[in-house]
């Protein structure tokens, strides 16, 4: 029984962490139409920032300042947001697919830095002994896992509510106006570039927070935690749940993570040990097929975009199928 509760708690913590990142991605893609395929890179920046700042001092690596965990998380959001600002300044004036190509490159570059700048990131060995908050009180057992789950759930609710208020505010409506018709929005005096940049930075910030949450839960990070597959998992979550809808983003995170975990479990159960490394590839094929199938069969996702109805008149957005 306790094993089951423990497994469920682990599952939910990861789903919650992913949900925070997917909410960030939803702000960028779902509401603003910015195509970021370097999500894993922004998550990695947050994870490494907090890990480097909060770990105890260590000889052969820079960092280890022993900062309080909460400060580490704040710093993670700041650095990921800064990375987002840099990428945004470079690409948001260019055509959409260039943003995709550059963010893809950024993720490759961040992966290279994590792997090769050993004095900062620990190279292939990663960063170990990342402090788990409140462990002094709760120990390492189930109690701590449940407490962390509550923490992640609380943060997820805060992020969700804040984003809901934001996208329903005039600011959020401008984002969608720019996404749908940039010329019309510009003619009303809205700087498309400025709004895009704000949305991109804010989304990156949430990805950084997700990275930090994951790092302090596992207690250890390495470059292979932030491979491109992470980006695709998060994208699958958003597309399955329904982009342009925060509820959909959260739902997608839980559904796709569930499908992923179930597929992994099935593979472990039914495929002989010797073939498992190879069969693990099928788990990834599943994510790819899921993305393609959703786009063809149900492009609006499980929930679809919410209609934004102004109190002053007709619908602002809502033609999901046009994209």
């Amino acid at each position: 029984m306790e094993g089951l509760v423990s497994y469920a708690a682990f599952f939910l913590v990861f789903a919650g962490v992913f949900a925070v990142a997917v909410l960030g991605l939803n702000l960028q893609w779902g509401y603003t139409g910015l195509f970021n395929v370097g999500v894993a890179g922004f998550v990695a920046v947050g994870a490494y920032t907090s890990a480097i700042l909060t770990t105890p001092p260590i000889d052969d690596r820079w960092g280890g300042f022993g900062w309080p965990v909460a400060l580490g998380w704040l710093a993670a959001m700041v650095t990921s947001g800064a990375a987002g600002a840099l990428v945004g300044l470079l690409t948001l004036r260019l055509r959409d697919d260039y943003l995709a190509i550059v963010t893809f490159g950024v993720a490759v570059l961040i992966q290279l830095v994590a792997l090769n700048v050993q004095p900062l990131t620990g190279g292939p060995f990663g960063v170990q002994f990342i402090p788990k908050p409140l462990q002094g009180w709760l120990g390492t057992g189930l109690a701590w896992t449940l407490a962390y789950l509550a923490l992640v759930a609380g943060l997820l609710v805060i992020v969700f509510v804040a984003l809901e208020r934001l996208v329903k505010s005039p600011w959020g409506r401008v984002l969608r106006a720019i996404r749908e018709d940039e010329a019309a929005a510009a003619s009303l005096g809205k700087s498309a570039f400025a709004f895009r940049l704000q949305a991109f930075v804010l989304g990156s910030t949430l990805m950084g927070l997700a990275g930090a949450l994951q790092a302090h839960f596992v207690g250890y990070i390495a470059p292979e935690d932030f491979l491109p597959i992470l980006t695709f998992q998060l994208w699958a979550m958003l597309i399955v749940g329904g982009s342009g809808n925060n509820r959909g983003a959260v739902l997608g995170a839980f559904v796709v993570w569930g499908v992923w975990a179930a597929a992994g479990g099935a593979l472990r159960q039914w495929i002989p040990q010797s073939e498992q490394a190879r069969a693990a590839a099928l788990q990834v094929v599943l994510i790819g097929v899921l993305i393609a199938l959703m786009l063809v069969l149900r492009p609006r996702g499980l929930l679809g975009e919410e209609l934004a109805v102004s109190r002053h008149g007709g619908a602002v957005a809502g033609d999901d199928d046009a994209r």
């Binding site: 055509r95 490759v108 393609a292």
Partner: protein, 314 residues
């Protein structure tokens, strides 16, 4: 110094071949196909399987009788390239029919997302079928020939296979150039890339041009993949690793420009070999990113970009 240039040109010719296919599909289909690298990888592995099939039929790939004297391969590999080019072209077409065609009306970014999904699925199928262990077309070690002695500018050593890759790339690029400039089909393709509606009015069926672009892009990708396998090694991530260099080459040359893709590919190749020689092999992948970033900052339309494919937002 000479060696860095030669190595760069060899990497560059592989990137060029791949980038030509990418730039063609980019300009005619109007979306950045992130699955293009997987066509290179599949081409390389299909040729590997074709070779194995020939050997099983008694046409020995490694035997000395079937090998062109200084090269590591013979007629079997040439035949395998043709088989792989055909099958890869069909794979590209199949992906289009199954996926991209259905999303054509949804706009370019939906197609880009779809290409990500397709790439992920196709790449991992490759990993499932062939496993992750690197493979080689021939188990013989090739001895590099010293073309320039070490005393002159650091010397230059090159394997016969590498020379072959350089030569065949040049021939292919020339043939493609003539095809696009002189043949009716080639001109119709360029017209479709320039203005799909106007081409349609002139009696060109755009869907047919899209199919030709996929077939051509797939075949060229297979060739590039085999060359990559021949000069480096075969591994399932071959396509993913080449994706950033391919895009850097396409953007450097300007979307839709075949000559630009070739120049872009060579520049990216030279940048990679310079990075390997000066900074270290572990930073190779960063070279393409630097080329890409510099280009986007200075000239987002590329060196030879058409005005119709501007880098700026519409």
């Amino acid at each position: 110094m000479l060696q860095i240039i030669a190595d760069g040109l060899i990497i560059g010719s592989i990137v060029s071949l791949g980038a030509i296919g990418l730039t063609l599909t980019f300009s005619i289909l109007r979306f950045a196909n992130f699955g293009h690298g997987e066509l290179l990888a599949w081409g390389a592995y299909l040729a590997f399987s074709a070779l194995a099939a020939f050997a099983a039929l008694g046409w020995n790939a490694g035997g000395s009788a079937a090998t062109f004297a200084p090269l590591s391969f013979g007629w079997p590999l040439v035949a395998a390239v043709l088989v792989a080019a055909l099958l890869t072209a069909l794979l590209a077409l199949a992906l289009d029919t199954l996926l991209f065609k259905r999303l054509r009306l949804h706009g370019s970014i939906t197609l880009v997302i779809a290409s990500f999904g397709a790439a992920l699925a196709v790449r991992n199928l490759l990993l499932f079928f062939y496993g992750g262990i690197p493979r080689y077309y021939s188990s013989d070690l090739q001895i590099a020939i010293a073309i320039v002695p070490r005393s002159v500018a650091g010397g230059l050593r090159i394997t016969p296979d590498q020379l072959f890759v350089l030569g065949l790339t040049a021939v292919t690029v020339l043939a493609l150039h003539l095809f696009l400039r002189r043949s009716v089909l080639g001109r119709a393709m360029r017209a479709t890339a320039d203005n799909r509606e106007l081409a349609r009015v002139a009696g060109i069926d755009p869907e047919r041009m899209l199919r030709v672009a996929w077939l051509l892009g797939g075949a060229l990708a297979a060739m590039a993949g085999v060359f990559a396998g021949l000069t480096v090694q075969l591994r399932p991530t071959l396509g993913l690793d080449l994706l950033l260099p391919l895009f850097a080459a396409v953007i450097l040359g300007g979307i839709g420009s075949v000559g630009g893709a070739v120049v872009g590919g060579l520049v990216v190749g030279l940048a990679e070999s310079a990075a390997v020689a000066t900074i270290g092999a572990e930073w190779r992948a960063a070279a393409a990113f630097v080329v890409l970033t510099v280009m986007l900052l200075l000239r987002p339309n590329g060196l030879f970009g058409d005005s119709g494919n501007r880098g700026g937002r519409a």
